[in-house]
């Protein structure tokens, strides 16, 4: 046992000392409601003419990658999924090999492996309430608020979008241009495209992987822009 540990730590040291130099990329997420900064007091109107205010908005980002600007090769960044609370400041720091990159990307959601291997820790701890206990799986994005058009108790709407299994896999990949390699990447994340695909009058609650969840997941890529 001890021998193996010794070997492993030497190996790790090898990596630390002689691996290629690293650089960091800082991602700043700017959360918005119809282009204006997110606030619990602000309301927006969707394409169905429902008026919505938001009091909770959380989601997972995972599967980060960058694309090398010369070779076009995609480099996956080892990092466990990060839970973002849109009402907090949201900064993600990625460690990548030194180089120049043309694209940056990630997945909104949690890869299936974390959904099928028991209880996880850290941001994936089920105690974070981003986990369905009666139907195992992560809630990839959770948006809750009020709308006068809602027919649910307290005029709430509750959209818990998740699911890792075909045909209700709601993981969605986002790829963005990454032009200025020396500056932090500021990404706007706007709820409007998500609200535009659902009528609160008709459906004020999504709480399991189903077709309505897929319709909303298909709008996820529209939420992210530089």
């Amino acid at each position: 046992m001890i021998k193996i540990l010794l070997f492993l730590s030497l190996l790790m040291n090898g990596f630390n000392c002689f691996a290629k130099a690293k650089q960091t990329i800082t991602i700043r997420l700017e959360h918005r409601l119809n282009q204006l900064p997110l606030s619990g007091n602000r309301s927006t109107v969707n394409t169905f003419n429902d008026s919505l205010t938001v009091y909770k908005w959380q989601y997972y980002l995972s599967g980060f990658f960058v694309t090398d600007s010369i070779s076009g090769k995609q480099i996956t960044i080892a990092k466990t999924p990060v839970l973002i609370n849109a009402f907090d400041t949201s900064i993600i720091i990625l460690e990548v090999p030194k180089g120049r990159y043309s694209k940056i990307g990630f997945t909104v959601g949690v890869d299936s492996i974390y959904n099928v291997t028991g209880v996880q820790t850290g941001d994936l701890d089920p105690a974070k309430a981003m986990f369905w206990t009666w139907q195992t799986g992560y809630i990839h994005i959770k948006v809750e608020g009020n709308s006068p058009q809602s027919k649910a108790p307290f005029k709430k709407f509750t959209y818990h979008i998740g699911g890792y299994k075909h045909p209700f896999n709601t993981n969605r990949r986002i790829t963005l241009d990454y032009t200025n390699n020396n500056r932090p990447v500021n990404i706007n994340v706007d709820l409007q495209p998500l609200f535009n695909v659902i009528s609160v009058k008709d459906n004020a609650g999504i709480m399991s992987p189903n077709q309505a969840a897929i319709n909303m997941a298909d709008a996820l890529p529209l939420m992210f822009s530089l």
Partner: protein
């Protein structure tokens, strides 16, 4: 520059090694690891023991949690309130389980046994890992009605639990993961493999004539879905029980959203079946006679009713009696009375 980095790295290695060695000494060494014990002719378990190695200490910690009301909101609903040993860890003589505020759950609490071979849990298969299973009752408002954070805080605040967690998992900080792993360790030891049936198969006992005829008939008419040694093939099937209009429980379809799964429920094990009445996912069938009458006369045909049951299962009264005589041989009294699975002495 390079030299400084190398020296730093060497120092780090030293520190890392020291901490690892200390860790080994202070915690792991005291654990009595053990392998799950089960009959040699059973298949290998599906549970991943590498991610949660069994130890005497881990199992004991899981047992204490299983019997502790702290895991529920008002203290009255430990796991064991619904999963009672005498009923093979199902609920004795109740159709729907009772939980917090005297609310009913949707389903009948099933027996818990031989869980290491099961990969989907609940009658609808909604749960895909034994470790995440306890989170469902803990957070269900009609069962234990708690939040995970609250349960962890309550356990952390005791004098009793933090040292036990430290011993088993190397940290006194109680986490969702470690609480679940401890519960799993105990649940995994609920092995029932010593019924009269098992002894007969091992050549150590003999069936009476009705039991023997019942066994033959069972293998012919029932083993398509309830095959030994687990007496379930772990699949989901519709046996033609009509939907109960107030519960509106469509089983597997609730999880998959696939109409082809409508009214399919997990095939339950029949081990200890005589001890775990009532029967069916919602406990609507009160005894084995009525269960067999269902197969005989009452199977409702629908597009998802299992093809094996297109004509029901024809049985004479005589044959019914023989099958029931056989089902009684699946009762494992050493399991129902195993002290190691019973309530722990008060800490």
């Amino acid at each position: 520059m390079k030299r400084i980095i190398t020296i730093l790295c060497l120092l780090l290695t030293g520190a890392l090694l020291c901490s690892l060695v200390n860790y080994e000494n202070s915690t792991r060494r005291k654990l009595r690891y053990k392998n799950l014990e089960y009959p040699a002719d059973w298949p290998a378990p599906v549970y991943d023991f590498k991610s949660n190695p069994l130890s005497e200490e881990g199992i004991e910690l899981g047992r204490q949690l299983f019997y502790d009301g702290l895991l529920s909101k008002d203290g009255n609903f430990p796991c064991a309130s619904c999963h009672q040993q005498g009923a093979a860890f199902g609920t004795f003589d109740h159709d729907l389980s009772h939980g917090f505020n005297d609310q009913h759950s949707l389903r009948n609490a099933p027996p818990l046994q031989n869980l290491a071979w099961q990969s989907l849990f609940h009658a609808d298969g909604g749960i895909n890992h034994l470790d995440v299973q306890p989170l469902a009752p803990i957070t269900a408002p009609n069962e234990m009605a708690e939040t995970i954070d609250n349960v962890l805080a309550k356990l952390q605040a005791t004098k009793h639990y933090p040292p036990l967690f430290k011993q088993v998992f190397g940290s006194a900080q109680i986490t969702t993961q470690n609480m679940s792993k401890a519960l799993s360790q105990f649940l995994l030891t609920m092995i029932s493999a010593n019924s009269k049936y098992d002894r007969v198969m091992a050549g150590k006992d003999t069936f009476s004539l009705p039991q023997q005829l019942g066994h033959q008939m069972f293998m012919e008419k029932c083993a398509g879905c309830h095959p030994p040694p687990f007496f379930t093939d772990f699949s989901f099937r519709n046996i033609g029980l009509p939907v109960e209009p107030t519960l509106n429980d469509f089983g597997r379809m609730t999880i998959t959203n696939d109409p082809r799964d409508s009214l399919k429920f997990k095939v339950p094990s029949l081990r200890n079946i005589a001890a775990s009445y009532p029967y069916g996912h919602d406990g609507r069938i009160f005894d084995l006679q009525s269960m067999l009458d269902h197969y005989r006369n009452e199977v409702q045909q629908s597009p998802t009713t299992d093809s094996l049951l297109q004509k029901g299962i024809p049985l004479s009264n005589f044959q019914k009696g023989q099958i029931i005589a056989f089902l009684y041989t699946l009762t494992d009294s050493s399991f129902l009375k195993n002290k190691k699975l019973g309530a722990p002495g008060l800490p």
